[in-house]
C-alpha cells in the first residue's frame, strides 16, 4: 500500500510538473528578476545614473515636489509623490491630468495616462526626462499578467500553474525517499543520476522558499480566484478595496471652491513622528487647490513584513490630521504578511539577495525537472531512438525545453539591449523594447523546435551568455555609469546589475562550454542550470 501511494505520487509529480513547467519557468525567472525591479528600472534609465545621492531631509525633498506640482499641475485631480529611498534616489512627482471640460473621460477610470517628473531631492532641479521604458516593472507584470493577452486570463493561467506547482512540491516531498540521506548529495557527470541530484538539491535546500512563494503567490490573487466572500458583503469590489487599503472612497468629490493647499512638509513631519521617525513612502494629494483637498501619507516599506503600510489622512487646507489607519484585523493582517512575504519589499539588500538566490534555485528546480523528464523518456526509448525512429512527444519536449530554458535568458538580454540601442526619443518606446523581448524569444523557440539537439542547446546558451556578459560593456558605451564609476561613487544598484548580469552571462557560457565535452552526460550539471535560470 505504501509503495503504491508513493508511486501514485510520483506519477502526479511528473505530470503536474511537466504540464505547466515551461510557464512556471517563465514565471519564476521574471519573478526572480522582479526582486530587483527598482534597480533594473534605474539601470534602464541611464539619464538618472548621475542623480545626486546625498541624503536630504524628506521635508526638503517634498517641498521641491510640491513647488513643481503647484506650477505644473495646479488643475490636476490628484498628485502622487514618491519619496526618495535607498533604492530610488529621485523624488517622483506624478499627477492625473484634469478631466476634459465637458466632463467626459477619454478612457475608463484607472486607464488614464499619468504624467510625471523626476526631481533631484537635494536641489529640486528636474532631472532630464529619462527615456521611456517599463524597466523592471515589465518583469513584475510579466510574472502574473503575461503579455499580449487579457490580464484576467493570464492571472487564471498563472494561478492554475501555481496550484499545479503546489501539488508538484507536496507530491515531490512524498516521492523523495532520501531527503536527509541525500541532503548534500550531488554526483556530477552521471547522466540521469546527476539530473535527479540537481533537481533534489535545488528543491530541498530552498524548500521553505518554494513552498512559501507558491502558496503566497496564490494568496496575492485570492480575491480574483475566490471572490465570493467579498461579493456577499460588499456591493462592489471597488468599495471593498477602498476599505481594505484605507484609501479615500473612489466617489469622493471636489467642493469646486478654490482654497490654497497647506504646505505638505509639516504633515509629513507629523506622520513620520507618529511612526517613530520612519520615513514616508508616498504622499497622495486629492483635489489640490480645492476646499475639499485631502492628503494621504503612507509609511515607506522596509519596516515590517506586511504589505499594507500605515497611513495618515490630513485636511489639505488646514493641514490638520483627520484620521489614521487603525490596527488591522487578524484576517487583514494575515493577508498583508503573506502578500508582503511574496513581494519582499520589506527586505534590505542582504535579504533581497537571499530571496534572489532562492528564486534562482526555484528556476533551476523547474528547469532540471523538465530536463529530467526528457532524460528518462530518452532512456526508455533508447533502442528505438538508436534505430532512428522518431518520438514526437520527446522531440516536442526537447524543443520546448531549449526554447524555454535557453530562450528566456536570450529574451531578457534582448530587452536590455533594446533599451540601450533604440533611439532614446522614439515614440512608443516601451512597447518596442517589449517587442524585442518577444521577437528574440520567438526566434529562439522556433529554431529550437525545428532542431532540438545538443548543438542547439550549446548555441542558444552561448548566445544568451554573450548577450548577458556584454551588458556591462553596453552600459558603459551608451551613457550609463560604468562599473568603475558606479563602484567608486557607491552607486550599488547600477554596479550590482552589471555584476550580476556579468556573472549570469559567464555561467551561461560555462554551461555552453561544458556541453562540448563528449562525456556520457547528455546535458550540463547543476551550476549551469542555476545559470540558465537567469
Amino acid at each position: 500500500m505504501k509503495e503504491g501511494f508513493r508511486q501514485s505520487m510520483a506519477w502526479l509529480h511528473t505530470w503536474s510538473g511537466l504540464l505547466v513547467g515551461w510557464l512556471l519557468f517563465l514565471v519564476f525567472s521574471a519573478g526572480t528578476a522582479a526582486y530587483f525591479r527598482d534597480e533594473i528600472t534605474l539601470w534602464m534609465k541611464p539619464e538618472l545614473h548621475a542623480a545626486a545621492h546625498a541624503s536630504v531631509p524628506q521635508t526638503a525633498a517634498l517641498g521641491h515636489a510640491q513647488a513643481l506640482l503647484a506650477q505644473r499641475a495646479a488643475n490636476a485631480n490628484r498628485w502622487f509623490i514618491t519619496m526618495p529611498s535607498e533604492r530610488e534616489p529621485a523624488v517622483r512627482a506624478s499627477w492625473m491630468p484634469a478631466k476634459k471640460k465637458d466632463g467626459a473621460e477619454s478612457k475608463p477610470r484607472g486607464r488614464r495616462r499619468f504624467e510625471s517628473a523626476e526631481l533631484d531631492p537635494v536641489t529640486g532641479a528636474e532631472l532630464s526626462a529619462p527615456r521611456a521604458t517599463r524597466g523592471g516593472d515589465f518583469f513584475y507584470r510579466l510574472h502574473f499578467d503575461l503579455h499580449y493577452m487579457s490580464p484576467l486570463w493570464a492571472r487564471w493561467m498563472v494561478g492554475i500553474a501555481a496550484m499545479f506547482m503546489l501539488v508538484a512540491i507536496l507530491s515531490g516531498i512524498v516521492t523523495h525517499k532520501r531527503i536527509f540521506k541525500d541532503f548534500f548529495t550531488f554526483r556530477p557527470a552521471k547522466g540521469q543520476r546527476s539530473w535527479l541530484d540537481a533537481h533534489n538539491v535545488t528543491a530541498v535546500l530552498a524548500l521553505p522558499y518554494h513552498l512559501m512563494i507558491t502558496f503566497t503567490g496564490i494568496v496575492t490573487l485570492m480575491f480574483l480566484y475566490m471572490p465570493w466572500g467579498v461579493q456577499a458583503l460588499y456591493p462592489s469590489q471597488d468599495k471593498f478595496f477602498t476599505d481594505l487599503n484605507n484609501a479615500l472612497p473612489a466617489d469622493a468629490k471636489p467642493a469646486r471652491q478654490p482654497a490654497p493647499l497647506a504646505p505638505l512638509a509639516p504633515m509629513l513631519a507629523q506622520a513620520s513622528a507618529a511612526w517613530e521617525g520612519a520615513p514616508v513612502g508616498r504622499v497622495t494629494v486629492n483635489f489640490p487647490g480645492d476646499a475639499n483637498a485631502t492628503v494621504l501619507i503612507s509609511r515607506q516599506s522596509g519596516r515590517a513584513i506586511g504589505y499594507d503600510q500605515p497611513t495618515m489622512l490630513f485636511n489639505g487646507v488646514s493641514g490638520r490630521p483627520l484620521s489614521s489607519s487603525g490596527a488591522p484585523g487578524a484576517a487583514t493582517e494575515t493577508r498583508s504578511v503573506l502578500y508582503g512575504l511574496h513581494i519582499a519589499r520589506f527586505s534590505n539588500p542582504l535579504l533581497r539577495g537571499l530571496f534572489f538566490l532562492s528564486g534562482l534555485a526555484g528556476c533551476a528546480m523547474v528547469a532540471t525537472g523538465l530536463l529530467l523528464w526528457a532524460v528518462k523518456e530518452r532512456q526508455k526509448h533508447a533502442k528505438a531512438l538508436a534505430r532512428g525512429e522518431r518520438h514526437v512527444g520527446l522531440r516536442l519536449v526537447d524543443g520546448l525545453n531549449i526554447g524555454a530554458i535557453a530562450g528566456v535568458p536570450i529574451a531578457m538580454a534582448a530587452f536590455f539591449w533594446a533599451n540601450r540601442l533604440l533611439p532614446a526619443t522614439m515614440p512608443e518606446r516601451p512597447d518596442a523594447e517589449i517587442r524585442w523581448f518577444f521577437i528574440a524569444w520567438g526566434v529562439a523557440a522556433l529554431i529550437a523546435l525545428a532542431r532540438p539537439s545538443r548543438r542547439m542547446w550549446q548555441l542558444l546558451l552561448a548566445v544568451g551568455g554573450v548577450l548577458f556578459a556584454l551588458l556591462p560593456v553596453l552600459n558603459a558605451m551608451t551613457g550609463g555609469a560604468h562599473l568603475g564609476t558606479a563602484v567608486a561613487e557607491g552607486l550599488w544598484p547600477v554596479a550590482g546589475f552589471d555584476l550580476v548580469t556579468l556573472a549570469l552571462g559567464i555561467a551561461l557560457l560555462f554551461a555552453a562550454r561544458r556541453l562540448q565535452r563528449p562525456a556520457a552526460v547528455r546535458k550540463a550539471p547543476v551550476t549551469q542550470v542555476t545559470a540558465e535560470a537567469a
Binding site: 541532503f183 548534500f184 548529495t185 550531488f186 556530477p188 538539491v201 522558499y209 513584513i305 512575504l341 537571499l354
Partner: protein, 119 residues
C-alpha cells in the same frame, strides 16, 4: 545596531550555517566515506558532529534574530540556511577533502564575528 555590528551579525549567521551544515554532512555515511574510505564509520563522533552541526544552525538563527528581529529573523534564517547548504553541497562535490577544514574555519569566523557583533 550599527552598520558594522549588522555586517558582523550577518557574517556570523552565514558562517555558522556553513559550519553547521558542513558538520552535519560529515555525519552522513556517504560524505564520511568519501573522506575516510569505503566502509569506515564515524562511530561515536557521529553524535558529536550532529550535535555540533545543530548548534551551528541554532547560532545562525540567533544571529538572524539579533539582526532582523523575531519576525524577519526567521525569513533571513531560511535564506541563510539555503545559501549555507549550497556552499556545503558544492564543496562536498568538488573538494570533499576541504569540508572538515571549512567547518572549523567557519566555526572560527562565526565565533569572532559573533563576538565583534556583540561588543
Amino acid at each position: 545596531m550599527s552598520t558594522w555590528q549588522a555586517t558582523m551579525a550577518a557574517l556570523t549567521a552565514l558562517a555558522a550555517a556553513v559550519a553547521g551544515f558542513a558538520a552535519l554532512s560529515l555525519a552522513v555515511d556517504r560524505h564520511w566515506e568519501a573522506l575516510h574510505g569505503r566502509g569506515s564509520d564515524p562511530g561515536p563522533l557521529r553524535r558529536r558532529l550532529q550535535g555540533g552541526g545543530s548548534a551551528g544552525l541554532l547560532v545562525s538563527l540567533l544571529a538572524c534574530i539579533a539582526l532582523k528581529g523575531s519576525a524577519q529573523g526567521w525569513v533571513a534564517w531560511a535564506g541563510m540556511l539555503t545559501a549555507g547548504a549550497f556552499v556545503v553541497v558544492l564543496m562536498s562535490t568538488y573538494a570533499p577533502a576541504k569540508v572538515p577544514p571549512l567547518a572549523k574555519a567557519m566555526a572560527g569566523v562565526a565565533l569572532v564575528a559573533g563576538l565583534l557583533a556583540a561588543l
